[in-house]
Structure formats: structure tokens, C-alpha cells
Symmetry: C2
Subunit: 322 residues, 2 copies
DNA sequence: GCCCATCATAGATAATCATCTATGGTGCAT
DNA sequence: ATGCACCATAGATGATTATCTATGATGGGC
């Protein structure tokens, strides 16, 4: 039996014939002519090398070999129906996998979105990679993931972006800081104090530094800590001041205060970034759709800034068009 | 996904590519050129409507859709390997079904052959139909069975025959019959006695009657009974005499004697008959082979008359040639 | 004995498959 | 930067598939 030229179509026809018990009847059901079905059947029998059907009082019934082929054909066709279902669910974004790389600060808020999403689409296998801006950028360049979350996007030549969340950077101080409670503070008043900074690859640091540069200011003593958590605790322990995303602060931060520095908060936005040159998996598309529709239920209203619909519109028909 | 033009070959190639993790490597293993495999892959991806593979650090790995297709393909190919095994075992005669129609008298001896055969090939599904000559002939004409056992074959225009067992017909009488123990008896001496005969469709009766005709003899009173068993018991009970196959007599028949009638036994042979116009199932062929080889171990030597090898030789290469 | 339905065969054709050779782009490793 | 391995694309070709129409054979029912 030479399996090479066996077509699924052939099996479909064969199964129909066995079910109908008649070539002509099968032909009618399949909207084919009777000779077509006859010939298909002959070819199949030749491939198998055994007679498949025999006539028993007017009805075609399978031979031993034909019966086995029938069983196998049915199983195989059912298996491929399953594949079709699976593909359909992939396309609907109900299943599949989606890998997201996000910058450190976003890890404080993204779970609010991903939690409900995961409950809605439990068959989607989500992977999160968390790093600072530079690390996420590297992943972007290596095309490691399907979605990227930056507050400052890479060159848009190779990417599309859609903002979805405000990310205000504020100055935090210990609760008992002398300037806590003031109406307004000038940054220059704070430059004598030590600032706790993230590592150089961090977006928070980058934004803060470029803001300072715009203002023509220079920091005094600094201390570098590679984690927002560490910095937050450090500030609470009076090691110094820091500029942090508001999202990093716990809802009740009794040991910290936000200083109302003039010109702050530094406004930035987190954005979902997708590569232009890479086809977006259906699951990732589904996640973006979910975010576009449900973000407002997941995060505080004051942070909302949902421009995902625009991103989706751009992706919809031409996933990889430039 | 249009399944119609999906070939098993295509799935084989796809599976090879996934296993190799490389198109070129798969091509080498399949003894194909690289572009061939590339193109097959493209066609498969088009049929499915999804990308199937993506490059991950130099190795091709499946996408979500590709993984599902790979699993399904493997299962399907394995299933058809099973079909091949099954066909091989069918062809070897180790499995399958075989329907045999046999004349009444043969039922006393055929089980001696079929018992060992069944133990040797337990996967073969044997069906026996037992009737008198006329009934078996009808089955033969309707092509109901694979093998037929007659003592007198039908026209050999549509059949091949192979003798395998002597079937001597003898006159039986009650143990205390006046002529029991004689050296030689003439049939004419017996014509005044009542003979117990089988029904008209019976071969035993037919052979007896044509023998009588040859001898120019005519029976006296008769009594018809449609069963060899009934006739045997009838003779033992002194209802009359009878002509029966020796095989019908139990090994120890203390209440019956065989009268040494001149010109008897009537010699006939049971034969396996196969239709020329019908392909013999492998299992039936296997049974004939088994019979050819093992008959001598199954029946008494004096009945042996095995010409099945000749029948098999005729069947071997051209099962349906005239 | 004739008719109807069923199946088989033959011949035709457009589509498709399964391959090849030749060539061009990309990216990693020297 | 040079080369090698890998993949993709293009174009060609013979085999096979999938389908048809037309016609012949067969077998059961009135």
C-alpha cells in the first residue's frame, strides 16, 4: 500500500460510500457523478491492494480490509475535524500562547488586566518577561516576544504602538519629610538631598534625567538601586528621595508622601508595542482586544488612557503591512 | 482549511521537518532537495491557513497551530501504519473471516480439521453453513460463501475443486442382521428389505441411486429421513437398512454392522470448491494451505486423499484466471 | 421478457502534486 | 568581510488527481 498519494478527499468519499452502502447514493450525497465515485473507489482499492467492498444482496458492504480502512479513515477525518476546531479557537484568540515582555514598573499594574484576561481565556498560555527598558528593548530586537510594554517606544519604523495607561512619575519622600504637606515645592529645593535612582537602563531613570536636563537642573548625591521595591523601602527608611511611578506606590502608603513638585508629575504612557514585521498570534491579538474592551474595569479611572482601538484598527486587516 | 487536497505524503514531509528542526536536514533525510521541502511546507501552511513553523535561534519550531498539526499528523500516520500491519496479517491469512458451506455428511469429519486450524489462527472468524447438497449448491450459486465442501462438485466451469478426503458409502445394517458376518453379500439380496433414505436433495442419496441405476437395480420399500443421525439410529432400531458415509458411523458402532456388499463401498471424495469468479479471501486461502499441510495429522490415514496442493497451485498466482 | 437502477469502463480535461535545477537573500562564525 | 549553511523564490515538467460525459454490462422486479 503506497500511502503517498492518498488524499483526505479520497477517504471522505470512501467513508460516504460505506455509509451509503451504494456508490450511486454516495455520489448523490456528495454532489458527484456516479462514475467519479466508482473511479475514486477503484483507485483507493488499488492503493490498498485489496478489494474493499463487496456486494451483499444489493448492498455494498466492506470486506475485512475495507472495514479496517473505514475505521481508520473515520478516525483520521475526525482527528482533522478536531484540528479545524483547534485552529478556529486559535483564530478566535481563545487558545494559544502569548509572550509579553514588560518593563519593571508595569509589573505593578499589568496583572490587574492579565488576571481577568486569564480567567476569560484560560486556554491561553501567557508568558511574562520582566526587565528594565534596555532588557526589554533587547528582547524586542531579538523578536523574542509577541507584545512589549514600554513607556517610551522604540523606533516606530519596525513597530506599532498603542497607549493604554498613564504612568505619572512623582517624587516620593518619607512621611515625616520637612516639605511634606506643602502646597508646592520647587525641585531646586530638593537637589541637596540624596536621590535613590534605578540603574541606567531603566526608563524611569531615563525620563527623570531628561526632565532634569530640560529644567537645567543637576542632581546632588545619588544612590543606585536596581529595584523599585528597594527604592520605595529605601525612601520610607529615610535613605533619600526618589522619583517613582505612581503605580509603584501601594494604595495605602502611610510611610511615604508624594511631594507636590512644580512641573511634576512627569507624564508618560505605557504602550503595547507590536512588531510590524512579525505576524501577531491570535492569542496576542485577543489580549489586545480584551484590553481595549475591559481596561476601564481593571484599573483606576485616573490612569486610563486607552488608545488600543486605534492600534487594533491598524492591525486588523494588514498584520504585517508597512 | 481545505482538507481535500491534503496528502499523506505532505504530512510525512511535515513530520520529518518538525523532527529535524530544519528544512535542509529534513530534505536530506527524505532524499529530496531543499526547495521541494520548502514548497511542500508552504503549501501545507496555505492549506491550514496559519504559519506552522517559526525560527527560534536557528532552529525551526512549531507555532501553536503547527504543533497541533504535528500531533494530528503523527497520530494519523501511525494509524495508517496500523492499517498496513492489519493488511499484512490479512494477507498472511492470520486474520480475517472465512465462510464455508458444507454438506451434511462432511460435518462429521471437518471439525477434525477446523479445530486445529482455529487454534492455529484464532483471529480468523470461521462461519460454517451446513445443508444437503442442494442447499449448499444454492449457496454456491448465490456466492454466499468462500469455500464449499461437496462430494460431487458443481460444474467446473465456474469453480475449481480439490479433493481432500475419501468418502466411502457403505450399506449398514443392525448388528444382528442375518447377513452380518458374511464374506460377501449381493445387493440384490437386500432389495426386499426396507431402505432408509435421505431426502432427494442429498448427495448420499443421489450417489446411491445412480449406483443402483448403473447396476440395473431398483429399491423395494423405502422410508425417508432428513438426517444421517436419524437414519443411523433407525437402522440400529431395525427399521431397515441404509447407505451411509462411513464417516457418519461412530468409531464404536456396536449396534451396527457394515454389510460387505459386492461393488461397494461407493467411492466418492469430498472436495473443497472455490469459485473461479470470486477472489478468495486470504483467510480462506490460509485455511486451504493449512488443510494441505496438516490434514494427515487430523484424520484417519485410510480416508486421506489430499490433492489440495494442486488446487493451491492453480490458485496461487491467478486467483480469478480462467 | 423488458425496464430500471446500479455499477463499471472509456476517454477527456483542467487542476494539482511532487519533483527538479538555478538563483538570490540572510545571518552566524571565522 | 568573507564564506558557508540555511531558507525562499521562480520556473519547468511529468505524474496524478478529480471531475465530467457517454456508454456498456448486470441483475432484480413486474
Amino acid at each position: 500500500m503506497n500511502i503517498r498519494h492518498l488524499t483526505f478527499r479520497l477517504l471522505q468519499v470512501y467513508v460516504a460510500v460505506v455509509r451509503a452502502g451504494s456508490i450511486s447514493e454516495a455520489a448523490r450525497r456528495l454532489h458527484l457523478t456516479q462514475p467519479t465515485v466508482s473511479q475514486q473507489l477503484r483507485r483507493l482499492a488499488e492503493t490498498v491492494g485489496e478489494p474493499l467492498l463487496e456486494s451483499r444482496q444489493g448492498r455494498l458492504v466492506t470486506t475485512e480490509a475495507g472495514g479496517e480502512l473505514y475505521r481508520a479513515s473515520r478516525e483520521v477525518l475526525v482527528r482533522f475535524d478536531d484540528v479545524e476546531d483547534y485552529l478556529a479557537s486559535l483564530r478566535g484568540g481563545e487558545r494559544g500562547r502569548c509572550s509579553i515582555a514588560l518593563v519593571n514598573t508595569a509589573q505593578y499594574v499589568l496583572p490587574r488586566l492579565l488576571g481577568p484576561y486569564s480567567r476569560a481565556f484560560p486556554e491561553v498560555d501567557l508568558t511574562l518577561h520582566i526587565g528594565n527598558r534596555r532588557q526589554v528593548l533587547t528582547r524586542f530586537e531579538r523578536q523574542d516576544d509577541d507584545l512589549y510594554v514600554f513607556s517610551h517606544p522604540p523606533s516606530l519604523a519596525h513597530a506599532r504602538a498603542g497607549r493604554f495607561l498613564r504612568n505619572p512619575l512623582v517624587v516620593v519622600a518619607p512621611r515625616d519629610h520637612p516639605l511634606a504637606g506643602c502646597e508646592q515645592v520647587a525641585m531646586s529645593e530638593l537637589l541637596g538631598e540624596r536621590f535613590l535612582l534605578r540603574e541606567p537602563g531603566s526608563a524611569t531613570r531615563m525620563l527623570f534625567e531628561s526632565w532634569l536636563q530640560e529644567q537645567g537642573l543637576t542632581l546632588g548625591p545619588t544612590l543606585q538601586m536596581a529595584s523599585n521595591e528597594a527604592i520605595r523601602v529605601g525612601v520610607a527608611s529615610r535613605m533619600g528621595l526618589a522619583v517613582l511611578s505612581e503605580h509603584v506606590l501601594p494604595p495605602e502608603h502611610s510611610d511615604l508622601v508624594i511631594l507636590p513638585v512644580a512641573g511634576l508629575p512627569i507624564e508618560s504612557h505605557w504602550q503595547f508595542i507590536v512588531r510590524r514585521d512579525r505576524r501577531l498570534p491570535h492569542a496576542a491579538l485577543g489580549l489586545l482586544r480584551f484590553a481595549a474592551g475591559h481596561l476601564s474595569e481593571c484599573v483606576e479611572q485616573r490612569f486610563l488612557s486607552n488608545e488600543l482601538e486605534e492600534l487594533l484598527a491598524g492591525l486588523g486587516s494588514a498584520p504585517s503591512a508597512g
